[in-house]
């Protein structure tokens, strides 16, 4: 039996097909989210910190940390800034015990204080501490007054003195604002370690959650002697040192 398709049936069939295809296709959108995109706000159940063992860290390691930071955030190539104007997110510092003459090199960056003086003095709330303890500058609000630079006991903040182009996509930087170590917040939010920690690639620098009893940093801090720089200020820093 041969089946012929009359005009009415033909229109019926094609309309139905079109409608069903349209229904299925409408569900497909261009939106795809990265697998580990952080959709939830950070909480104070965590506090990020770092433990730096100066005895195990060679000068080359420290230079590597500085280089890694420059590469990650794109600072250090400001052509028109001179001397103190240059950005310094992390630097190599030499400290000498006057009594014994022992010289120790250590990397110094924003110490991510629990009670950050930079946040206290900021007139626009640009200097801020995230719930998970990372201290940042909100450059959308920063007016460049540099009070925070004055307040910081670690001299950890820098001011951008010149127009910049070709910034790193994860680290916007611009003239007239203050900047400092972000603890590589864009990487931490993705579950990665900061660039300087990754560059050392040994237990000389440990990064992790200070509150998590099972984390390596928490376990190590329980065992070894560690110190905060300028502990007398009671800032409870997130970056701690052993061997000084």
């Amino acid at each position: 039996m041969s089946k012929t398709l009359n005009r009415r049936d033909f229109i019926k069939t094609t309309t139905a097909t079109t409608a069903s295809v349209a229904t299925i296709a409408s569900g497909i959108t261009l939106t795809t989210f990265a697998a580990n995109a952080n959709e939830n706000p950070v909480t104070n159940e965590k506090r990020w910190g770092m433990l730096i063992d100066t005895n195990r860290l060679t000068e080359a390691n420290i230079d590597g940390m500085v280089t890694a930071c420059k590469k990650e955030h794109g600072w250090g190539s400001e052509a028109h800034s001179t001397g103190d104007q240059k950005s310094n997110w992390i630097r190599k510092l030499k400290v000498k015990d006057k009594a014994t003459g022992k010289v120790t090199s250590l990397p110094l960056m924003c110490q991510h204080c629990e009670e950050p003086p930079c946040v206290d003095v900021c007139p626009t709330n640009a200097s801020m501490k995230r719930e998970d303890g990372i201290v940042l500058v909100d450059r959308h609000l920063c007016i460049g007054c540099r009070y925070c630079m004055m307040a910081c006991p670690y001299d950890a903040r820098s001011f951008v003195h010149e127009d910049l182009t070709d910034q790193k996509e994860d680290m916007p930087r611009g003239k007239g604002t203050v900047e400092s170590c972000t603890l590589c917040v864009h990487k931490v939010d993705k579950g990665e370690a900061p660039a300087c920690v990754a560059s050392v690639n040994s237990d000389a620098v440990i990064f992790g959650d200070l509150y998590d009893a099972n984390s390596k940093i928490n376990q190590t801090l329980k065992k070894v002697q560690s110190a905060q720089i300028r502990a007398d200020l009671n800032l409870n820093t997130g970056v701690r040192y052993s061997g000084i």
């Binding site: 094609t14 097909t17 079109t18 959709e39 939830n40 910034q167 996509e169 939010d189």
Partner: protein, 127 residues
């Protein structure tokens, strides 16, 4: 008759593919795309400053790093490439995506004194 049916269904498919009329010109990913990313073009045109401001606070202060309303996403999708050098134009260059409207309405864009104006090295294209 069946052959005719196949041809017709083919046309039907094409009409679905073309149902989204892309308002963009140029060779950016957004312009080449046949799919609609923003729910409503007129809403995004009018409200994008609010969306961006809202998202920037969520990202910086709360660590919410989704693609939705991220400035990086705008730049990645909307930056045009130079046909000869194969390098991206800055989105705030004259007659490029951002400045095209902004110069017409005399509104300065401050985003790009800090933010990158072309897709970064880690951007691998098509999502």
């Amino acid at each position: 008759m069946y052959r005719f049916l196949v041809v017709f269904i083919g046309f039907a498919f094409m009409s679905i593919a073309n149902a989204y009329e892309n308002p963009l010109t140029g060779n950016s990913e957004a312009a080449k795309s046949s799919k609609q990313y923003h729910e409503n073009v007129s809403v995004i045109r009018k409200m994008h400053p609010e969306f961006l401001n809202h998202k920037r606070d969520k990202t910086l202060r709360q660590g919410v790093r989704t693609e939705e309303n991220s400035l990086k996403g705008c730049v990645n999708c909307h930056a045009n490439k130079d046909e000869t050098t194969n390098e991206y134009h800055s989105v705030n260059d004259k007659d490029q995506f951002c400045s095209d409207c902004h110069q017409q309405v005399s509104v300065s864009v401050d985003c790009f004194s800090c933010h990158r104006t072309t897709p970064g090295a880690s951007y691998k294209g098509v999502r």
